[in-house]
Every structure is written in C-alpha cells, then in structure tokens.
Subunit: 529 residues, 2 copies
C-alpha cells in the first residue's frame, strides 16, 4: 500500500508536477520538525539542529526504503538554493538582531577570534590533513583541495550554543560567541573564495600575501556595500515615510533591499554574507526607527522566521544527505578508512580551535588589563568559547559541495570520499558535541544555565543605554587651554582604551550627523543633546 | 558605456551566476515600483497595478534597447513560478484578510456572481469568439481553445477597484466586489481545468453536465481540503501553544501550513486557489487567536506583504511581456487584425459581464425583498460591480500562457496571436478601464470616494459584533409546546431569510463546539454564553 502510493506519486504525478511533490514533502517534514523541536524544547540534551538532522535522517531512510535503495534525497542539492535563497536570511537576521552595543564594545576581540582565528585554524587543518591523509592511505587531493579543506572545517556553527547561553546573564560570553559566529561564517566563505583564486602553477613567496590582500579587499568592499545599501534604505524610508499610506510597502522595501544587497555583492563577486550582515546591522540601527510600530514588530519577527525556516531546512537536508548511497558507493575509502579520515579531521578541528581561542583570549585579557569596564575572559569562559565553535554546520556542507561536487553530483572517488567525510564530521560534531553542550554549560556556569529555556522568543533590546556618557569631547566654545588639556586627555584615553574611545566618538558622530539624516531615536541622557 | 556594462554583465557574469542577474534586476525594479507607487498614492488616476505595468513596460523597452531588439524579458515566463510561488500568497492573503462576517452574510449573492457569473460570461465569450473570429479572418482555433478563451477572459481582476472602494462606507458593495473577485479567480481556474478534461471526440449531450459535475467535485473537495488544513493548523497551534517557547515557530507553522494546503491541492489535481483561500479564512477565524499578540500582528502584515510583492511582480512581468518582439513577429495576425480581435474580445468582456451582473443583482434584490436587514443593490452599485470586474489581470495571462504556449514559448502563429491578444486586452482593460475607475466611483458615489486614500494599511476588523443576537434556538429545558412553537418560528425564518438563519445557527455551533476546540474569542454579548 505504502509502496503503491509512493509509486503512484512518483510515476503519475511527477510528470505533471515535477517540483510540487518534493516541495510538499519537504514542507510537511519541516512542519514535523517544528512540532518535534517544540515538544523537545525543555529537553536537556536536544536542540533544534539535532532534531532537524535526526528527522532528516529518518526521512532519508524512509525514502531510501520507498525508492528501493535508489535514493535518499527529497531535493537534489543545489548550491544556488543554498547560497542564493537560504544563507542570506540567516545572516541578515544575525545582523538585524545582534545587540549592536555589545557587539561593537567587543569588536576587537570578536574580530580577532573571527578573522585571525579562521586563519590559524585553516593553516593547522590544511597542514594537518596534508601531512596525515597520505599516511592513512588517502591520496589524490591537490594543494588547492587541502587549503579548501582548511577553510571548510574552519567555519563554525554556533547556533547550538547560542540556544543555551543566556544573553542577559553572561552578556560578554554571549556577544563573543555570537559575534565570532557571524564573522567566522563570513571569513571562511571569503577565504574559501580567495583560495580559489590562487594560481598554484606560479606559486611564490608573495602568494600568501596576495591571498591576504585579496581577503582584505573582499572584506572591506563587501562591508562598505552593505553599509551603503543599509544607509540608502534608511534614508529612503525616512524621507518618504511609506507608513503614511501603507505599512506593507515599508516591509516590502526592507525585505527587498536586504536581499538586493546580498545579490549585488554576489554579482560583483564580493562576499554577500558580509554585505548582508552589515546591511542588517545598519537597518536595525537606523531603518527600523523610520517605520511604523507594527512594521517594527513585524520586521523583527519576519526576519527571525525566515532565518529559522532556512536553518531548519539546511539541517534537514544534511540529515537526508547522510544516507546518500551513491556517494557512499563512489567513495574511494573503505569504512575503516572513512572513520580514520573523519577522526583526523575532527581531531584537527579540536586542535585548530584550541590553537587560537586560548592564546587570543589571554592576549585580549592582557590588552584590557587597565580597563575596569571590560570584564576579562575567565578560563571557564574560554572553554565555553572553544566548545561553542566546535560544531560544523551548513556552511561547511555547502562549501564542501562547492569544492568537491558539480551540482551535488560527483563521479570522482576522492571527491566523493571528501563529501562523505564532511557529512560525517558535521553529523558527529553537531550530534555528539551538540548533545554535550548543555551539560557542559550547566556544569561550568551552573547559575546561568538555569534560565536557558526561558524568554527565547522574546529577546528584546534593553531600554535606554545605562552607562555614563561623560566623554571628553572637543568643543569650540571654550578656551584654547581647556581644549588643549581635553585633547591631551582624549589622546591618552585613546591609547589606553582604544575601542571604548572610538565607540564614544562614534556615538557622538552618530547622534549629531547620522541619526538626523538616517533615522533613529535621540539619546535622552546624552549631555550634549 | 551603458551597452558596455550590459555586455559585461550578460557575458562575463551570466556564466558564473545564471540566476543572480535577472533576480537582482527584477528586485531593483520592484523596489522602484514600490517607491513610485508610494509617490503616486494620492494621485487620482493611477493605482498600483497601472504603475507596475508602466514601470514594467519602460524596463522592457530599456532591455530591448540594450539587447539590440533581441529580447524584452528579464525573466522567462514560468508557469510554475506563477502558479506555485506567486498566486498562493495572493489568494491566501485574500482569505486571511476577508471580513468573514460580511462575506458570509452575502454568501449567496457572492456565489451567484462568482460561480454562475463565470459560467454565463464563459458561454457568451466562447460563443462570441467562435462566431466572430472567423469573420475577422482569424482561423485555426479548436473548440477547446474557444472554451479556454471563454474562461481566460472570464477571470476578473478586482484589485484595482478595491483600492478605491472604502470598506467602512460601502460595506455591502465592498464585500460583493471583494468576494466575487476571490470566488471568480477560483471558479475560472477550476473551470479552465475542467475544460481541459473534455473529450471532444466523444462529445454528446452529457458533456456540459459532466463539465459541471467535474466543476462541483473540484469545488467541494478543494474547499474541504482547505478547511481541513486550516482546522488542523488551528488545533495544533492551540494544543501545543508554540508561543510558550518561541513566537518564531508559530509564524513558521502558519506560513508553511498555508503553503502546504496549496501544494497538497495541486498534488491531488484539485484547485489550490480555493483550498488556500478557505485555509486562509479558517486560519484567520481560529488559528490567529491561538498565537501570541506579536505573532498575530506579524502574520497579518507578513501575508499582506507577500501578497503585495507577488502582485506587483506579476504586473511588472505583464508590462515587460507586452514588448516581447518574438511573439509579435510569430503572430498570424496583422496589426489591423490584432486590433480587431482585441476589440472583439473587449466588447465580449463588457457584454459577458453585463449579462450576469444586472440580472443577478435584480434577482438578489427580489429574493431579499422581505428582509429588512439586507440593503438592496442599487443601480449605481450594479454599475460599479459591473465595472469593477472588467479589468483582466494576472490570472488571464497565466491561463493564456498555459493554454497557448509551452513554457512561455510558442512557435505556432495562431497561438502566438492569442497570447499577444491576451496581453493587449489585459493592458487595455487595466490601463484604460483602470484609469477611469476612480473618476467613475467618485461620480457615482461622491461621498464615499472622499476617503479613498485614507487608512489603507490599517484595515482592521471592527470591535465586537453589534447586531442583536436574539435568535430563536431550540433548548431542551423548556416545555415541549414552547419548543414546538420555536421550531415553527425557526423553520419559517429559515424559509424567509435562509442565509441569516444559517449564519445564526453556524454562530451558535461555532461558539459551542468549534471555538473551544480550535480557538477564538468568546462572544461577550451572546445570550447563551
């Protein structure tokens, strides 16, 4: 009966509706995932990603049985689907919902984890695999492949940990993990693309520098594009005030412009991920104050929902893909060999991350030793940060498909082996490490974890900023000597607390020039206002 | 310079990003449309559809110039894009935002316009074209084509008129035009599909009856499926109360289930349009009360936004398609012939609509002559209803493409001629009749039109129902004779005011059984509560 229905569906209807069947099945499974995820919400071990992967694996098994071992896929993997439709909402939402104050206060630390960390991790994983793979009898990869593997396994998936940390109780930790997650995604994609551009035939001492230069160029131009689109959108929304006639237009403009920023970046071969992230930051900082109250609420929820659906979709896909028999059969490795290669990669992931989290944390603490405001990163926090980035997720899968397959299909045994190994590492880290995250956080931060299941859907920005804003600013209506002393103070402060001082000047600039043009509330407790 | 950039874009980047360029261009133009639509909001003559068509035509011209006369298209017409991605949000939103009380109060009138009207109009247009086309020298169409043409040009586009009518000032008129618009879309698509199933080789007296039977079957099963999905969603949302953990899940479930209802209907070869409409009605009646306040606001706005984007997208497409040189060159008709055929169709559209609006309105007034509550449809209202349905829109285009092209391409001169004629009729009716709608309504209803630019984005349901609910109901704790008299009253009331009585029983049933299970507020002024 089941087979009969399945055959009926695949034969009779597939001809009429080639796309309808897989989409319906996938959406039905997505709904199932949401329901199961909700029911397991209070469970200590399981999170959304794990649920989606497991549901995906079960669906894959069912499809494998129905299709009599031919295929486990509902949808064929499509790089474009991932990079053009699923990734942008996730990253945009990250930018839109990020607590900007915390993010920019810890900007240097986040950037060192997210950029320098990826470089260190890439180097360790690339060299490690290049050194160890041949010893396991796994040969046939090129230098470009090894570098690509380094970037593929340097991209982390922090969603899992963020579901457990509580932003109001450990704000520093939360903002570091969140911030690193975002910057890391962007960095690894940008670095992956930079690696693609290396000419290995004319390799010389300048190559590393050229990769780094290319990386810096991509990073800065992408950021600028995102900022530009965000500012244009804010300006248009403020000037025209669409809400006057229709709240629908406001929303539509926000959604469409956000998406356009990503597409433009891709069009000019920049990093859409960075562009759309900064577009999200700018939109939530300016544009969301130029729309009606209901649009503000709606936009926040819409972006969260789109991101949520896209994420679940990806993990579901990873789950079904794990059972792809074709790739398993094509792979050049035996079961033992696969296990060996996967173990090596997992070990290198652990090592590569430890190699930058602990040193960079110590460096950050050393840099901030004179600043009373910045709490230092305790060893327990360092362990959590290290752990938070061990999971490998959707970006790794997508990059692996990009590197080792052609539209999700590969006939080359070595490439197939790399794809199956990536799947195993992603599954293992997400399932095993993901499973252990809650207990680990509960053990290390017993108090903080107690609230972990509360208020998840209700993260809101806290009211008005509470810190004192007694900032030494240059003003021109006072005597020159006062100004000179002030300037000296400013400069010595700038040397000691660079981020804080920059941040204060930025706020002053923001209040005086940016907000009047692009929108946003006036700060009530600012002395100059 | 312009050409240089265009060539660079089409040659160099198209290879890397086949989908990115057209999508980016289309989204940029969509944003432009929104801005222009907003700026023209207070204009007396122009509305959203006209703006989108004109912007589309201008973009088509620009692309035609850039591609040196080769193509005017940004995107290739894709039936699946239209029927699977663009139509569902529009229709679901219609069901979700419809004022259910008004809709069901005027249920019989709406159904007679929306169902019987389409049948009458189809017959007139089919016979008219079958009789007149050969006289204009336009030959080569089959019997099936003529019937298809009848349904294609019986589908109306009431968006234009709804933008002008004001729901609080002329509630009857608004609900009739809106309700007919929705039912009409569904009926014409269902009838179109029923026509496809006719076996013309074994035509006999039963054929018409069989088409009608097929139609009834599709209509009822599709409605039931929509109701079922809506109830399941409401039940799940009420039972599990997702908002407890995450408002994002609630929203995601609503959006996904709505879409799933459409896909399921298409999968079982039913009418997705009807299914998704009733799913929307049920969701707004029950499900939207089972979610948190913020999700309620968000869902309303999200559905409105998706519908808005889809609609603008379609009109934009119609605009660019108007300049498709290939179809113009393939057409079997000369310029004069095309004008003649288009004029005949437009005349038949005017006639076909008059042939049911006026008789059915008179019939409705006659049926309601004893009911004090139902206002009668005045002659001025009849003229507005007639006019409101003269515009032909996206559904006509989509059905014409389905009937006369293969994935938007046709090499047959007769088919190409029909597609270009459909485009002309849609453009003409939308632009010319659309242009005249505001002046006409202002002329016929001078008071009502004065508010037409207010409160558009803020349509909200009025507070609590105000009408008296002194309804003769059977209750079992009174004497038999009282009950008998009550029953007699009920039955005589049922004979006189069928819709009102059914509606009252339904409300009783809804309050007692449905709302406790599927969610929704208790009516405060209901005597039995």
């Amino acid at each position: 009966m089941g087979i009969g229905l399945a055959e009926f569906l695949t034969n009779k209807l597939a001809a009429e509706h080639p796309q309808v069947i897989p989409i319906s099945v996938f959406i039905a499974i997505l709904c199932l995932c949401l329901v199961i995820g909700h029911l397991l919400e209070e469970n200590r071990w399981v999170n959304e990603s794990i649920t989606a992967i497991l549901v995906g694996a079960v669906s894959g098994t069912v499809i494998l049985l129905i299709s009599k071992g031919k295929s486990s896929h509902i949808l064929v993997f499509d790089e474009e689907l991932f990079f053009i439709y699923l990734l942008p909402p996730i990253i945009f939402n990250a930018g839109f919902q990020v607590k900007k104050k915390k993010f920019f206060h810890n900007f240097l630390t986040i950037m060192s984890f997210g950029v320098i960390g990826v470089f260190i991790s890439t180097v360790i994983i690339s060299f490690g695999t290049w050194f160890l793979f041949p010893k396991l009898g796994f040969k046939g990869l090129s230098a470009r492949d090894y570098l690509a593997i380094g970037t593929i396994f340097s991209s982390t998936d922090t969603v899992c940990t963020l579901q457990i940390l509580h932003q109001d109780e450990t704000p520093l930790l939360y903002s570091l993990v969140f911030g690193e997650g975002v910057v890391n995604d962007a960095t690894s994609v940008v670095l992956f693309n930079a690696v693609q551009k290396i000419h290995f035939e004319s390799l010389n001492g300048w190559t590393a520098l050229r990769v780094f230069g290319n990386f810096l160029y991509l990073f800065s131009t992408s950021t600028l594009l995102g900022i530009a689109v965000g500012l244009v959108t804010s300006f248009v929304l403020k000037t025209l005030y669409f809400g006057r006639h229709s709240t629908t237009r406001e929303l539509a403009i926000m959604v469409l412009m956000a998406y356009l920023s990503y597409l433009l970046a891709e069009l000019f071969s920049l990093s859409g991920i960075l562009t759309v992230f900064f577009c999200g930051v700018l939109m939530s900082h300016y544009a969301s104050y130029n729309v009606t109250e209901s649009s503000r609420i709606t936009s926040r929820h819409v972006f969260a929902m789109m991101s949520f659906i896209a994420e679940t979709f990806i993990f579901l896909y990873v789950g079904t893909d794990a059972l792809d028999v074709t790739k398993w059969n094509t792979s050049s490795l035996s079961v033992g060999g696969t296990l060996g290669v996967s173990s090596v990669i997992t070990a290198l992931v652990l090592l590569g991350r430890a190699a930058f989290v602990f040193p960079l944390s110590i460096l950050t603490n050393f840099m901030n030793r004179h600043t009373e405001r910045n709490e230092s990163i305790t060893f327990k926090h360092q362990v959590i940060i290290w752990w938070a980035g061990l999971m490998r997720g959707a970006v790794s899968i997508a990059l692996a498909f990009k590197q080792f397959t052609y539209s999700g299909v590969t006939l080359d045994p070595v490439n197939a082996a790399m794809v199956t190994n990536t799947t195993i590492v992603v599954l293992f880290t997400t399932l095993v490490f993901g499973f252990l995250t809650k207990p680990l956080v509960n053990y290390l931060l017993p108090h903080d974890a107690s609230h972990n299941t509360r208020n998840r859907g209700k993260r809101t920005e806290p009211g008005s900023p509470k810190e004192d804003a007694t900032l030494p600013l240059l003003s021109f209506d006072e005597s020159a000597s006062t100004n000179f002393n002030r300037a000296k103070d400013s400069i010595s402060l700038l040397m000691e607390q660079p981020v804080y001082t920059i941040h204060r000047y930025w706020r002053k600039f923001d209040d005086t020039y940016m907000r009047p043009i692009f929108g946003g509330p006036r700060r009530e407790n600012h002395p100059e206002c």
